[in-house]
């Protein structure tokens, strides 16, 4: 679904990301881990054509992301709060995204009704603008908005951060269900090794922009990752 070739990004001569070759097949749940500054958000921003690659290219469903805008029709993402419109209520925001993605109000209503459990009564019918919600609740709204309009690729940057434990557990279930049918490709990054090994079938470790590990998740993966990050503390 997503193929990366010779991709690199440098700021003022300092290389922050360097991925020679990476293929993410359709329907995969793909996890990205790495310490701060490893290049996770940079990679996601490059896929979304929010920054320009220094070299190389990214194809999303055979579409070169920096040449055509066609990928936008089937890709959705939540990277940070700048993906929310602060002066809208959560409902208005969902309808707005729905309108952009060709969904009727009823479509959106049906979709978000499935997430009432996830919202835990703190998002819908609150009569509050998104900018007045807590960080965690903003995140919930942003994440659910990415499910609107049947996207084929969903990109979530650190979706577990700021969420309360109950919501974290629910989010894990949601992501598992999403990728069950192998229709939707999900890309997530996280600092929580346990969560990410639980929901992703493949995990890539970035360090200072380089791919250090590319693991197909198994029972041993969590231990392997923990050993790796312990090692990087010791060394």
């Amino acid at each position: 679904m997503i193929s990366v070739k010779n991709l690199s990004k440098s700021y003022k001569g300092i290389r922050v990301l360097n991925i020679e070759n990476l293929e993410i097949p359709k329907g995969q749940s793909f996890g990205l881990v790495g310490n701060n500054g490893a290049g996770k958000t940079t990679f996601f921003s490059l896929i979304l054509d929010l920054i320009q690659p220094t070299t190389g290219q990214i194809k999303n469903k055979e579409i070169l992301v920096n040449e055509s805008e066609e990928w936008k029709t089937f890709t959705s993402s939540f990277i940070d709060e700048s993906f929310l419109i602060g002066y809208l209520t959560a409902e208005e925001y969902f309808y707005f995204i729905g309108e952009l993605r060709g969904q009727t109000k009823a479509d959106v209503d049906t979709l978000i009704s499935q997430f009432e459990d996830f919202f835990h009564g703190e998002i819908l019918g609150q009569n509050k603008y998104l900018r007045d919600l807590s960080k965690g609740n903003q995140k919930k709204a942003g994440i659910v908005a990415t499910f609107i309009g049947n996207p084929e690729v969903i990109i979530l940057d650190e979706p577990f951060a700021n969420l309360d434990p109950t919501t974290q557990i629910r989010l894990k279930q949601i992501i598992k269900e999403l990728t069950q049918n192998k229709d939707v490709t999900v890309l997530i990054s996280s600092h929580d090794l346990q969560h990410i090994t639980e929901v992703c079938e493949r995990i890539v470790v970035l360090e200072k922009g380089d791919v250090i590990k590319d693991i197909s998740t198994s029972d041993a993966t969590l231990k392997e990752l923990e050993d790796y990050f312990t090692g990087s503390v010791l060394s």
């Binding site: 936008k72 029709t73 959705s76 602060g86 952009l100 993605r101």
Partner: protein, 490 residues
């Protein structure tokens, strides 16, 4: 302790993003401040002599006192729209062992060093000096000056109360409207008793205690207000506003650009900054009164063309020139969502067109000045719709200053759209209508000028898609730069 606060303040000032902008902007801002300051000092110094010349029989100090009410009103109005509430990052200070009262005193005291206070000082200080030189009794003059400065500070504190509290604002605003109405229709001249008050202040120096107490009292009120709200869940945290949901489904008839239009309406109605800007654009409607009432301009019809363009172009000039900055807070969303740039621009275009149309309807009272003038306003409106909208959008492509939607603009710290390219791009907005009108007017006739101006607008509407495509390409080119600039922390 105060010394530490001051050092924090200094760091905040020198490290603020607007201060780290290009050297050119710094120099321009420096000159702007210098200009306004210099103008004020000059005015203050010259005021005595000017008044003496215009009204030789009246004592300048009395004339000044009689007009003082207008100074008070203008002062208050400018403050209300421009002056920001005192903010200090008090959250980190709350858990540090500093007495609350010190922080609050500091916070309020800080507002004394505001540009708005200095403007009045710059006007009245030279005036006072001139009075002294001219041999007016020093005790009278100095205490009068002190009174004025106390009133100035009192206004400073009143403004914060007005800003915090809508009822106070509406109460004062409606009183003002009533008073101005009464004054205008000669029913009751408020300026006379007020003039009397100021003259009494002048002739009875001991009365300085009244303004002094007024200032102190208002300070105390403000102090108590802040003191009461000195908790995390009160003044420090921003209050969650009540949501106003208006049904905008009727706008769906605009088809594919409807979502954006609906969003823009909410943008304007729910955020402080756009509200302020739209309010300002409303004042453009009255621009014509300056020009059409003065005979001087009748001999310079190209100036009239300029004025007519201004009357309906307020929204264009104020709101339009900050496209796409209005969406800067969530620009990444727009850039990664299923949106084409062209749709986005088209929606902004329609918004401006609607605004011009509304201004045009509101400008119908100008018929009073004759059909020629009104024809000119109509032609100016067409020009605004057909050409100025595109020039504005084009200028926006170079505009990469993020806007904080829900904070009012500060005077002189707001450099949004304040750069050389912006200014150059702004020139055609003024010059083009003047040229388009003036050339055929000179060569053929007044009506020919009108027709050419109007036709230029129609032409723009006809070639709308062509223009939009061209502009879209320019926006596309600058996309990454714009995203990066908007993502910068303010």
């Amino acid at each position: 302790m105060i010394k530490r606060f001051l050092s924090l303040e200094w760091k905040q000032f020198t490290r603020a993003s607007y201060f780290q902008k290009g050297l050119a902007i710094k120099i321009l801002m420096f000159f702007a401040v210098l200009y306004f300051g210099g103008m004020a000092i000059f005015m203050g110094g010259a005021m005595f002599f000017i008044l003496k010349k215009i009204m030789p029989e009246a004592d300048p100090i009395e004339t000044v006192n009689n007009f003082m009410i207008y100074w008070v009103l203008a002062n208050l109005a400018i403050r209300f729209f421009m002056q920001q509430l005192p903010v200090m990052n008090i959250k980190p200070l709350m858990i540090i062992p500093i007495k609350r009262n010190i922080v609050i005193h500091y916070l309020l005291g800080k507002t004394v060093i505001s540009f708005f206070n200095f403007i009045s000082l710059f006007i009245f200080l030279p005036f006072t000096v001139v009075l002294l030189v001219k041999g007016y009794p020093p005790v009278y003059v100095l205490f009068w000056f002190l009174s004025i400065m106390c009133i100035n500070m009192a206004l400073n504190f009143i403004n914060f109360l007005i800003n915090k509290n809508n009822t106070v604002f509406y109460a004062i605003a409606s009183t003002l409207v009533v008073l101005i109405g009464l004054e205008y229709y000669d029913i009751f001249k408020i300026s006379e008793p007020i003039g009397l008050v100021f003259n009494t202040l002048y002739t009875n120096p001991y009365l300085v205690v009244i303004p002094l107490l007024l200032m102190a009292g208002l300070y105390k009120i403000n102090f108590n207000y802040v003191r009461k709200g000195f908790y995390l869940d009160d003044a420090v945290s921003k209050k969650a506003e009540k949501v106003n949901t208006t049904d905008l489904t009727w706008m769906n008839r605009f088809g594919s650009i409807a979502p954006f239009l609906k969003n823009d309406v909410k943008l304007i109605s729910r955020n402080a900054r756009p509200k302020q800007v739209v309010m300002m654009s409303f004042f453009f409607l009255f621009y014509g009164l300056f020009f059409f009432t003065s005979d001087v301009y009748y001999e310079m019809p190209s100036i009239l063309a300029f004025a007519s363009m201004f009357i309906t172009g307020g929204f264009l000039m104020t709101f339009g020139q900050l496209v796409p900055s209005w969406d800067s807070e969530y620009y990444k969303l727009f850039m990664s969502q299923n949106i084409s740039y062209k749709k986005y621009l088209e929606s902004k275009w329609y918004l401006m067109v609607v605004a011009v149309a509304i201004s045009f309807v509101l400008s119908t009272p100008y018929i009073y000045f004759g059909w020629e003038i009104f024809g000119m306003i109509a032609a100016g409106a067409l020009f605004n719709i057909g050409l100025n909208t595109f020039i504005t959008l084009l200028g926006g492509a170079l505009n990469r200053v993020p806007i904080e939607l829900n904070t009012k603009a500060k005077a002189f710290s707001n450099t949004n759209g304040f750069n050389l390219t912006q200014m150059l791009i702004g020139l055609p907005k003024f010059l083009l209508p003047m040229i388009l009108f003036y050339v055929p007017y000179k060569l053929i006739s007044f009506n020919a000028g009108l027709i050419v101006l109007a036709l230029s607008g129609v032409l723009g509407i006809v070639f709308k898609n062509f223009f939009l495509n061209k502009i879209e390409r320019i926006y596309q080119k600058g996309k990454y730069k714009t995203i990066a600039a908007f993502a910068e922390k303010k």
